[in-house]
């Protein structure tokens, strides 16, 4: 079984659009995992039917029993996250470390599991899909990403599928690292803007840091040809393969509005994604 993650440093470069089209092309041989758990959008294009739902318990949270509390203030003093004020826990700030419970002389503090979201196993028109929804503002998105990936591997093994296709989140922090750990190939989607180029360098540093075989896709390459040339040069310098060059075209948004993938409605972007799919398949 192979795993491929589609990531980008900068947001909005087209990860989900591309993953959905790759899913259509890999129909019947892959499981799709949406690991952008706090802004998941892949389901809007693949319209999956949920077959199973699993609760996700993120970090524990501290609760102070007011009846037991003697208001000694030890917890407040020990908390490194400024999460205790007036002998009450600010749940938004609590990171569930348990130090307040440890220092409380009268056992007034409890740590409780808190429901942080859900993960789903679903069936889409191109094959099984695992996705999730973190509750608004929750922590531990990396832990939920790890759970989604674990479920996706189980589904792939159970159904004898040879590819897990991962839709990652923007950035380079915890959820991105969780999406990239142990994959066989990363596809970084970028665009020829000054910000796209800057963010590409950072995410290439990350995939390099973890020793992940990486390829690049330049989306909307024709919007700024000089910028695209700079990206091509950067990739050559870093010995990273540019696996695809997608033109800017209205079919991308048209498809999104219809809840379809770009390859289903056709056009120049669909053709370019198909070429890229073949390059990536060969790499894998």
């Amino acid at each position: 079984m192979k795993q491929m993650a589609v990531v980008s440093g900068k947001g909005g470069t087209g990860k989900t659009t591309i993953v959905a089209s790759l899913a259509a092309l890999a129909c019947g041989r892959a499981v799709f995992a949406d690991c952008d758990v706090d802004a998941p959008d892949l389901h809007l294009l693949l319209s999956p039917k949920v077959a199973a739902k699993k609760p996700f318990y993120g970090i524990k949270k501290a609760f102070i029993d007011a009846d037991r509390c003697t208001q000694c203030g030890s917890c407040q003093e020990a908390c490194r996250f400024s999460a205790i004020d007036d002998y009450q826990v600010d749940l938004d700030r609590c990171e569930g470390c348990g130090v307040c419970k440890l220092v409380c002389p009268v056992e007034a503090v409890q740590l409780r599991e808190s429901l942080g979201g859900h993960a789903f196993i679903s069936d889409s028109r191109f094959g099984p899909m695992v996705h999730a929804q973190l509750y608004p503002g929750e922590e531990a998105s990396g832990k939920l990403v790890a759970m989604v990936r674990e479920m996706a591997r189980e589904v792939a093994a159970a159904r004898n599928l040879d590819l897990v296709l991962i839709d990652g989140s923007p950035g380079i922090g915890c959820p991105v690292i969780a999406s990239l750990t142990g994959v066989d190939l990363a596809l970084v989607v970028t665009e020829p803007t000054i910000t796209g180029e800057h963010d590409l360098k950072r995410i290439l540093d990350v995939t390099g840091h973890f020793g992940i075989d990486t390829t690049v896709c330049i989306n909307k390459y024709d919007l700024h040809l000089a910028g695209s040339r700079r990206i091509e040069f950067l990739c050559r310098e870093r010995e990273v393969l540019v696996a695809g060059r997608l033109p800017f075209h209205s079919s991308v948004i048209e498809a999104m509005v219809q809840g379809q993938t770009v390859v289903e409605i056709g056009g120049p972007v669909a053709a370019a994604i198909t070429v890229m799919y073949n390059v990536l398949s060969e790499k894998l």
Partner: protein
């Protein structure tokens, strides 16, 4: 007055809006405005101020435990306590995985041998720069998370603290820098802890979306976060003209103010892709952003 600029979906134009707001305000009023770029994983705001001069650069330090092997009895209590699995106690040695450590100091408190002490390590850098005259009196504070680091929230906090500081520039009176302090916080995409940390304690949040199914879906989640945090908000629709009309219906139905629309315009996109602030190149937009800032001030008051 602190205004955050956020969005659920990435790439909707947060940085475009944050830099335009700050520069338009600074140029049209002569006031100084601070941009706090809290997208520390991929900071971009400073790129739009090529005439900036760097004022300071410092490491963002977080607490980490140090284990005194001579005292350690390898009882394993610290590893059992650690909620983040950042410690592994082997028969002969203690291993720390620093990227997982939240710096709670629980291991220090629980150790029966007093073998744990505290040290610090850097997870990234904080920069402060002042823009040149072409972009008004804008101060840019940004953080850059080190590659391989997972936890961005301590650095986000540090960036906001730095932006709130009074060390504007050498030679300026402290009282002067306290007058009319205005900060625009450029937030990371998403709706999880990094976004929460960035919008926290801001007086108003401007959510930037695009009129597409992805934009609307993620806007809805972001609005739920702000509602929970009781932060007043309004919406700016960027790239209008693409997609569909659903976002407008959504806003109308919920009585959420739509504060501005920026059309998908090749000229704007080209100026942005070169790393320039389009509002300063197109005077009618500078005017609009200055007015938007005034409207937000009224709404936040």
């Amino acid at each position: 007055m602190k205004i955050s600029v956020a969005s659920g979906k990435g790439g909707t134009g947060k940085t475009l809006v944050a830099t335009s707001l700050a520069a338009s305000r600074a140029v049209s009023t002569g006031k100084r405005v601070t941009i706090a770029d809290c997208d520390v994983e991929e900071p971009n705001s400073y790129l739009f101020f090529p005439d900036r001069s760097l004022l300071s650069e410092q490491q963002c330090l977080v607490s980490v435990p140090v284990f005194d092997e001579a005292r350690c009895s390898h009882c394993g209590k610290c590893a059992d306590f650690c909620a983040y699995q950042a410690i592994a106690v082997l028969p002969q040695t203690v291993l720390l995985f620093p990227e997982l450590c939240h710096g709670c100091a629980g291991c220090n408190i629980i150790c029966p041998e007093k073998a744990v002490s505290e040290s610090t390590r850097s997870i990234g850098e904080i920069f402060r720069a002042a823009s040149g005259s072409a972009t008004g009196r804008v101060q840019i504070v940004w953080g850059e998370l080190a590659v391989g680091e997972a936890r961005a929230t301590p650095l986000i906090k540090a960036v906001k603290d730095k932006a709130a500081g009074n060390d504007w520039a050498k030679g300026e009176a402290e009282s002067d820098s306290l007058e009319g302090k205005e900060t625009i916080v450029d937030c990371p995409p998403g709706t999880s802890c990094t976004m929460v940390e960035s919008v926290r304690d801001t007086d108003f949040c401007l959510l930037v979306t695009e009129p597409t199914p992805f934009g609307l879906y993620d806007l809805d989640i972001a609005l739920k976060v702000l509602e929970k945090m009781k932060i007043p908000s309004g919406v700016l629709v960027n790239k209008s003209g693409i997609g569909d009309r659903k976002v407008y219906g959504y806003l109308e139905k919920r009585d959420i103010p739509m504060l501005m629309e920026i059309p998908l315009d090749r000229k704007i996109a080209e100026i942005y892709s070169r790393g320039e602030i389009f509002a300063l190149k197109m005077p009618e937009w500078q005017e609009r952003f200055a007015r938007l800032m005034e409207r937000i001030e009224e709404m936040a008051a």
